[in-house]
């Protein structure tokens, strides 16, 4: 008798199936509502393809001097050297403060946690875990352009 009752209990019932179906529908509905919400929160991409941005008043920079500008939302330092211009990310790889160019030492210094980078962006001292990325610079008709990929 008990065996027969147990067997009956294990058999799928209409109620059990409906419970399962309602549960599944709830999960699917929840996911259908949540996924667009999460995607909505994801920042929309901006900027598009790489483009050359002119460095304002680049000709006014003496050798050893620098200028800072934003290229596609990224802070970039352009340094004038004897041989030409170099462009390097101004964002410290430690915690995101902007480094400053020290023309007398030919080094970049972060004011937040004292990370020091050489003129090529390599870490000299301090807590920075990685070098500063460098960017492409070109001079056309006396004007200087920086390109951030």
């Amino acid at each position: 008798m008990n065996k027969r009752m147990n067997a009956m209990e294990k058999q799928p019932t209409r109620r059990g199936f409906l419970d399962w179906l309602i549960g599944l529908c709830s999960v699917v509905t929840g996911a259908a509502l949540t996924v667009p919400g999460l995607l909505y929160l994801w920042p929309a991409a901006r900027g598009g393809a790489s483009e050359d941005v002119e460095v304002p008043n680049a000709s006014g920079l003496a050798p050893g001097q620098s200028a800072i500008l934003q290229v596609r939302g990224k802070a970039v330092i352009v340094v004038r050297e004897q041989t030409g211009f170099t462009a390097i990310s101004a964002v410290c790889t430690h915690l995101g403060c902007l480094v400053k160019w020290d023309g007398s030492r030919k080094e970049f210094l972060c004011p937040c946690h004292a990370a020091v980078f050489d003129k090529n962006g390599a870490v000299v001292s301090g807590p920075a875990p990685a070098p500063l990325p460098t960017y492409r610079v070109k001079e056309v008709d006396g004007k200087v352009y920086v390109s951030v990929a």
Binding site: K74, L98, R105, P127, P129, A130
Partner: protein, 392 residues
């Protein structure tokens, strides 16, 4: 029949007011454990500050504009033009810092009195989450004036997320709403600060208070040996403890207004995404983490530092399930009390180091330069500040 009686009979005819009245009377006339005193007022103080922050926050919202172009100007407008705008802004800013202090003191008292033990583990856990949410309030609200210090503190704070392996870059991008801190970040922080966190905190406080009333205040008896307080035992919640809370509430309001007048928060320079100010430092409650992060260098240093900063919060969250001892009295819990004291002293020590770091201080006529790690170096007349900095 007076108006109040009319209202009473109207409500009585429709709802079971007797049960509600019985519940309220029971709560009001509850007896509190005999050791309940002035140290037990920090919870209600935190609650009062939450109410103050809500009211002043709503008032500020009327004039605040959450865009990079208008945010800083709107704060200036609130301060200089709006009637009593300066007061509400100052009370909100000071209220934020005092609320974190009140929550910390409340947690400290709860910890040392062993009140987190069974059956109050979940009350403690909700309390720790409230603490984390309160700090997040501070972090998100800090950006809203859109001044230099706010902008760069947020830059450093969100950059920290980037140190987490695998999801770090994704998380930073999500928090900022892009690669850098911009108007998108301001919008996100604004929504989190004024909509999402208030609802979360309101819900958490409701659960915390419900659990607190359901399990009563902890006595100093051992776990499992607490006896219900009889009507002639302990301290009456009303009027004795309520009177203490009233005194503290009045002192708090007086303190808030006094601080607003004598030590107003600066509006600061508007945010400039192309110039990081020298030696930016976070608010006092982030100073221990800020200082701790400096000791971890190398490719994975920042990540290990973030782990080290997160560890105390994880320990706090799970502490009731780790400390399974039966005793509550501080004198009978030397290990737990020792751990607590070391943690408090370590936080204070790191905070003081963080505060002193990268500054010059004169002590007994001698000038010292505190370097990045907070180590003092005596300044001689020949030493040059820039050289010292570079030597660091």
């Amino acid at each position: 029949m007076g108006l109040s009686k009319h209202i009473r009979s109207f409500v009585d005819a429709r709802f079971d007011t007797e049960t509600a009245e019985h519940f309220i009377n029971k709560q009001v006339h509850k007896r509190l454990p005999p050791h309940t005193g002035w140290l037990h007022v920090f919870g209600s103080l935190s609650l009062l500050l939450y109410l103050s922050q809500t009211i002043t926050g709503i008032l500020l919202l009327i004039y605040y504009r959450p865009t990079p172009e208008a945010a800083h100007k709107s704060i200036q407008y609130i301060t200089a033009e709006v009637n009593f705008g300066w007061l509400y802004r100052q009370v909100h800013a000071w209220g934020a810092t005092l609320m974190i202090l009140a929550v910390v003191l409340h947690m400290t008292r709860t910890y040392f009195f062993g009140a987190y033990k069974k059956p109050r583990e979940l009350t403690w856990v909700t309390g720790v989450i409230i603490f984390i949410v309160t700090i997040t309030f501070g972090f998100t609200g800090y950006l809203l004036p859109w001044n230099q210090i706010a902008f760069w503190a947020t830059t450093v704070g969100t950059e920290s997320a980037n140190q987490i392996p695998v999801i770090g870059e994704w998380l930073r991008y999500f928090l900022r709403g892009g690669d850098a801190v911009t108007g998108e970040t301001l919008s996100r922080f604004f929504v989190v600060h004024v909509i999402i966190l208030p609802w979360i905190l309101t819900g958490l406080i409701a659960v915390h208070l419900f659990l607190m009333r359901a399990t009563n205040l902890a006595t100093l008896e051992k776990v499992g040996e607490e006896k219900p307080l009889q009507p002639d035992q302990g301290i009456p919640f009303f009027p004795v403890h309520v009177a203490k809370e009233g005194v503290v509430a009045v002192l708090l309001l007086a303190g808030l207004v006094t601080l607003s007048v004598v030590a107003p928060w600066e509006i600061g320079e508007p945010a400039n995404p192309l110039a990081t100010p020298a030696h930016i430092k976070p608010e006092w409650y982030f100073l221990p983490s800020y200082q701790l992060l400096k000791y971890f260098e190398g490719p994975h240093g920042a990540f290990i530092g973030i782990l080290a900063c997160s560890l105390p919060f994880a320990l706090l969250l799970f502490w009731p399930f780790m400390d399974r001892g039966k005793h509550r009295h501080p004198k009978k819990r030397p290990v737990a009390v020792g751990v607590g004291l070391v943690a408090v002293l370590a936080a204070l020590f790191l905070g003081v180091l963080g505060h002193l770091s990268e500054t010059d201080r004169t002590v007994f006529g001698r000038t010292y330069h505190f370097d990045l790690l907070g180590r003092p170096h005596q300044v001689t007349p020949s030493s040059d500040l820039s050289q010292r900095k570079h030597a660091e």
